[in-house]
């Protein structure tokens, strides 16, 4: 039995804040939970499943969040695979609902990354894991790990800085249509190229911003979804995967998206040409480019020309990140939850000036971790 149309997203809420120095991450999450449940027409006491993880989560952070919300759910999932976590949580929630483990699952994320002045991309990325000793002495940062993928892509395929910049420019244009986006002033390819280099070939405007922020969505069973006030947005298929060093033999231009995307599309029974919107985790411009290739929207090596010429605009052939993405709207450390929220807004026809015409099927892909070291991918196919 597959997961297609077994569960639906019935409520979403994106917290409007981008800077909240007087609030805590848990407070932002509770406010987002309140918003998503109100959108769904459900009460907190009806929640019997909770999914979350966070930058500041302790080893049992999910239990602490249950306590904060005074929830006693029968299903919890704190899968922590970086920014893709909340995309994976949606699939896990759907599976749990389909299996009868729970019926109303709240998926929530929030952080005060900006007001805490966290150096997310440009600090070291040390851990206690065994591989760390072979990496930390050489000074890898999150940006640098993605830069290693970008440099290799340029070397193999002649991809240019201008092509990467096209992604930042289109995304900023979308942010200009979103009153809540943190950066809304239009930028040009020249602006991107003139911004300072963080880790070559990636420049400042190739990198996602750091904001505070939070968001939540609510999932429930097909039966329950049909009784609620909002049009259900159905999960058609899902996939997840990891990418890592593969014993020293990895091809660094192949990412987890190849495996997770193939699985999600096959399970959904959806072809690329049927997809009206792609919400692609944009930690960096290169993330979008290699993800589109690995998902099969274009062939490997063709990403540079694929992202050019306005194709990714909300009125283009493949609208991508119509909310302004992590590059311009918000990126509170992890942003998977916002990929799902914007996909739902588009599928409901509530995306405002950036509304994709006749949006019926959306693909969501989260990338978590450090692309050039080890990372995760989670893909959803959603439909109205």
């Amino acid at each position: 039995m597959g997961l297609a149309r077994q569960a639906a997203i019935v409520g979403v809420y994106e917290h409007p804040t981008r800077f909240a120095p007087n609030k805590t991450a848990f407070q932002l999450m509770a406010e987002s939970a309140r918003g998503a449940l109100a959108d769904a027409g459900l009460s907190l006491k009806e929640v019997d499943g909770l999914c979350s993880t966070g930058l500041g989560f302790g080893a049992t952070g999910i239990v602490s969040l249950c306590e904060y919300l005074n929830l006693k759910p029968g299903f919890v999932d704190s899968t922590a695979i970086g920014g893709a976590s909340f995309v994976a949580h949606a699939a896990h929630a759907a599976a749990a609902i389909a299996a009868g483990l729970c019926s109303v699952v709240l998926i929530v994320y929030g952080s005060t990354a900006a007001s805490q002045r966290l150096a997310i991309g440009t600090a070291g990325i040390g851990s206690a894991d065994p591989a760390d000793q072979y990496e930390t002495p050489f000074g890898p940062t999150t940006v640098a790990s993605y830069a290693l993928v970008a440099a290799r892509h340029m070397h193999e395929y002649g991809t240019t800085a201008e092509q990467l910049a096209e992604i930042a420019v289109t995304t900023r244009m979308h942010a200009g249509l979103n009153p809540q986006a943190k950066y809304r002033e239009p930028i040009t390819v020249e602006d991107v190229l003139a911004s300072r280099t963080i880790a070559s070939p990636l420049r400042l405007l190739d990198c996602c911003i750091i904001s505070d922020g939070a968001g939540a969505f609510v999932m429930t069973s097909a039966e329950r979804a049909r009784e609620l006030r909002r049009r259900p947005i159905w999960l058609l298929g899902a996939g997840e995967a990891v990418g890592h060093g593969e014993g020293g033999l990895r091809d660094y231009l192949e990412t987890a998206a190849a495996q997770s995307g193939r699985a999600a599309l096959a399970r959904a029974g959806v072809a690329h040409r049927e997809i009206d919107l792609a919400m692609i985790y944009d930690s960096f411009t290169i993330t979008v480019l290699v993800t589109l290739e690995n998902l099969g929207f274009c062939r490997r090596g063709e990403g540079g020309s694929f992202v050019s010429g306005g194709r990714l605009r909300f009125d283009g052939a493949l609208p991508v990140n119509t909310d302004g993405g992590g590059l311009s709207s918000n990126h509170p450390g992890m942003r998977g939850v916002f990929l799902v929220i914007e996909a739902v807004r588009q599928l409901r026809g509530e995306a405002g000036p950036a509304q994709v015409r006749d949006c019926r099927i959306a693909l969501v892909h989260g990338t978590g971790g450090t692309l050039g070291l080890r990372h995760s991918g989670a893909t959803l196919v959603l439909a109205n």
Partner: protein, 143 residues
């Protein structure tokens, strides 16, 4: 004007019981890789069990220390102590002649002297306790 890429004052590796022989070999200016005695697979990074077959009979094989740059970035910003004042430095994957890709620094050159595809050779840096760090430098032409 171009400048010499910096050599950061690096954090020490967190050496463990699985990895100690590798680090001690570097202290002797020797580079070794592990090969599984059951299935023959070469692996990076060092670990007790073969990730292909979970066999724990392992042979350490001497590597040449020669390789080519697989990918490369010049890092201009890193807030970590030891690196904050050391930018720009070169972070790279070097593909060893034996086939595995290792994260490392390229040192002893200007940033523009190192390119993807360039031949490089091992540089050993003593870090005390009979251990060393493995970086690479562009292969110098033989006289």
């Amino acid at each position: 004007m171009s400048q010499q890429a910096n050599v950061p004052s690096r954090p020490r590796p967190r050496i463990d019981e699985e990895s100690r022989p590798w680090w001690e070999a570097l202290g002797r200016r020797e580079l070794y890789l592990q090969r599984c005695l059951e299935c023959g697979a070469l692996r990076w990074y060092p670990r007790a069990l073969c990730p292909e077959c979970l066999c724990d009979r392992t042979q350490w094989v001497r590597a040449s220390g020669r390789g080519k740059v697989y990918s490369l970035t010049t890092v201009h910003q890193n807030q970590t102590p030891g690196f904050a004042g050391a930018t720009p430095y070169l972070l790279a994957y070097v593909e060893l002649e034996e086939g595995v890709r290792i994260l490392t620094n390229v040192v002893n050159c200007r940033p523009e002297e190192a390119t993807i595809g360039a031949s490089v050779e091992a540089v050993f840096q003593d870090i005390g306790n009979q251990t060393g760090l493995l970086s690479f430098q562009p292969t110098r032409q033989q006289a």
